[in-house]
Subunit: 554 residues, 2 copies
Amino acid sequence: MLSYTLGVDYGTNSVRALVVNCETGEELASAVVDYPSGHQGVLLDSADANLARQNPADYLYGLEESITRALAEALKHEGFTAEGIVGIGVDTTGSSPMPVDAHNVPLGVHPQWKDNLNAQCWLWKDHTSYAEAARITELSAEHRPQYIAKCGNTYSSEWWWSKIWHCLNVAPEVFDAAHSWVELADYVPSVLAGVKDPKGVVRGICCAGHKALYSDEWGGLPDKEFLALLDPKLAELRDRLYEKAVDASNVAGKLCPEWAEKLGLPVGIPIAVGEMDVHYGAIGCGVDEGTLVKVIGTSTCDCGVVSMKKEVADIPGICGIVPGAILPGYYGIEAGQSAVGDLFKWWVEGVCQDDAAHHAKLTVDAEKLKPGQSGLLALDWNNGNRTILVDQRLTGVILGQTLHTTQAEIYRALIEATAFGARMILERIAEYGVPVERIVCAGGIAEKNVMLMQIYADVTGRELCVSGSSQTCALGAAVGAAVVAGKYPDFKSAQDAMTSLKDVVYKPNPVAQKVYDELFALYGKVHDAFGGVNAQADLGGVMKELLRIKDSAR
Amino acid sequence: MLSYTLGVDYGTNSVRALVVNCETGEELASAVVDYPSGHQGVLLDSADANLARQNPADYLYGLEESITRALAEALKHEGFTAEGIVGIGVDTTGSSPMPVDAHNVPLGVHPQWKDNLNAQCWLWKDHTSYAEAARITELSAEHRPQYIAKCGNTYSSEWWWSKIWHCLNVAPEVFDAAHSWVELADYVPSVLAGVKDPKGVVRGICCAGHKALYSDEWGGLPDKEFLALLDPKLAELRDRLYEKAVDASNVAGKLCPEWAEKLGLPVGIPIAVGEMDVHYGAIGCGVDEGTLVKVIGTSTCDCGVVSMKKEVADIPGICGIVPGAILPGYYGIEAGQSAVGDLFKWWVEGVCQDDAAHHAKLTVDAEKLKPGQSGLLALDWNNGNRTILVDQRLTGVILGQTLHTTQAEIYRALIEATAFGARMILERIAEYGVPVERIVCAGGIAEKNVMLMQIYADVTGRELCVSGSSQTCALGAAVGAAVVAGKYPDFKSAQDAMTSLKDVVYKPNPVAQKVYDELFALYGKVHDAFGGVNAQADLGGVMKELLRIKDSAR
């Protein structure tokens, strides 16, 4: 009998289940289910643009629906039976923590909390806790510099402790009602494994190390003395969280009878430890030492790995360097850009007030422009700067406009801005000795947007490969499941068998590259001025002042 | 018999003739004629966005048509006869120089030159000669600092010598074919007066002083030694230009029989000396010492006057301080912003790709925003910076965008940007001792855009009055005509009788004012950084570099 694994990928707007042939990596069937709640699956607050939550009930609905539909699709293939499924892997957005009760049930599904936004899952892109993040950065710098040394010396409002602390500050009743908190990436595997106690939830090193200041070096999560500096209640909470987080060579449990029946799958098949989407995505792209994976979607995540047998320097401004976060035995290095596809979508749908089809029209016009021809330069900070400056309280810039500047010119300038941001990350990583011999891109934009990919090649001066799969995150989770199911001795052999590259390679055009080198130098100046790196520019505070004034105008 | 004067106003897209009752200022009739050539009357070059020319034939067509139609309209009023017209005043855009032959005929109307863009009138907003302007600034700073001391120490690409020199550089055949050059403001009166020799064209001090470095102090136009530093041919041209320029107490001539017959007007009535539109506009607004007139249209012009009995300091960054340029006996002080209405039009029509009616829709949304609520800040430099920095090679900036920023928020931010630019000018003038006790606004935007006017009041912290006439430039020209026709002993008495204010006064709201004070401080930082005032910001060259790269991308 042929063997298959399931990869389940929880995105921002939908969940996808993928059935993968363990021997060949063939993607037999998949199904996507949109989250029913909120705006495209996200719970918003019209009074606070920073807020982004999700309904935990959507996760359970999406889990059952997506797997059931994918299996139904797979069953149309001759030779496939559900008994052939040997394991399940799950990846999700992160840091997306949610409060749970003593039985590992999310507060958000309880009738008394279901309408309370603070009792739901705090989605990765929720930025309400920027003040708490800044305070954690300060306190850590003063008392535990080692905690933030691996995450660019800056703790983010997108991360675990900022969010939980903000919940405690703005909704103490929710905080008090929560027995514990779990990352979405740990929660879904725990559901499949039938875990009924938060203490029994297997916690992945991926979220713990990147988002929760977890390290074996200092005995796990931040110590209680430090947490008490934030709030004594956070120190108390530590006892109800976890002692140990593990890498993807571990299982999160075995498929419990209840969910086996719901899904029509064999009881007891292994559930891989959860990782964040792009981490499993990197695995699905065939990441190894020397390969930088770029998952380019609404935002971009950059992932690399370096053998744990080597030393890796602390890289200023990089989101995290975490042992075992992506591949067991390797440091996982994560960087990223907070808005990429989202930035273009903002321009086309938010500003130009056109529909998604308008991207194609603007692309036709933007493709006709030569590098530099528009005279425009933009900063890609509409959703803050995740890597290099690690500052959510930064905002966008467009400059160089004349009275003749067009929609398409600005569209292209925004694409170029994200390319410059990508180059900043690449140069920073390289500067600190992380080898980048190959760049593999994945995600909808990398697959479809030929103009963007060529601009990225021209701006970075690097050849860009594209992942063979359109569903690399789910594929990576399926690879992880194949490993824990014992189909392969290690990730390397599983990746070699199950992942691939497309034939296309984007090569830099030397003429364009030269112009972009000039523009990148200007981007650097504006970046450093508004980012506060060039303190003499006296502009480092401008965006923050604008946000302060904006907040008080409410 | 009642007496009337005609004010003829040459704008960027059309010409307007206004019949005014000399005793009361009543506007009896008017007619507007669009220039038939080019795009909305402007000849463009798709390969060079800096280029803006006009067909001189349009001026002659527009002169006859507008006056004829206005008179026809006026004749419907009982008691009016064409014999009642006692004088004509003309205002035009400027600096709009054009090459003419030895008979004062524009080259552009000659069959052999009519398709040559360089042989047409070089419209005020033509910026092709930025390199020449920069060189004139350098040479003047080194050899004749007094020449540019009165125009902010910076010569502009919008002005006379830059344009003529650029013509010599790019189209020597046109330069050589030109016997002389005349400003449009001097040309139209000379046509009415039947002047057939450029030497006979009466030149107004308004254009000469503001745009051509003319001053009685140094014997008129720049000396030949200096002009030879630019190009020996410009030194030669000086002999074919003029020795003397005069103020508006003078006549440009008397209506010649040919045009009297064409127009059906009495032969020999006086033609006032031409001034630039906003200068006569200031007169039409009742300008006197202590009054700042703001004509707010596609661009904004600020005009003030100070008695020539006093000393006026050189004001850095102000377009010009010229004796007699507006009112005889007073220094005329001119400042301005290169894009105001044009900036909003760019946003609505150029970027949002909507029609003019969309302004109203955006205004509805923008009006709901509190000051500072958008988190945005913009620089109003899409067409360069005319006053303070006097630099056409600056470009626009929008900053503070998030993924939620809307069309209407940016629309309002652009309006606020022009308000901050207006405040920069106001503060600069006041800093150098020019009294501003009253601000009178005119122009289509001042009359119609209530939101903008309130924002301007809130940003500047000043009460804003609005001119009683919708056609202040033409009215001012008609006032000038009434004075030279001997209906009044001086401008003051003519203005008192013929000009008025509307009842509306915009008063600053203290709450909004406080927020705008904060935003203005931030505007100042960004202004100084990109404008090169704060050299340490290292951003002063960014926009120029972008323009250089843009130029080489062609």
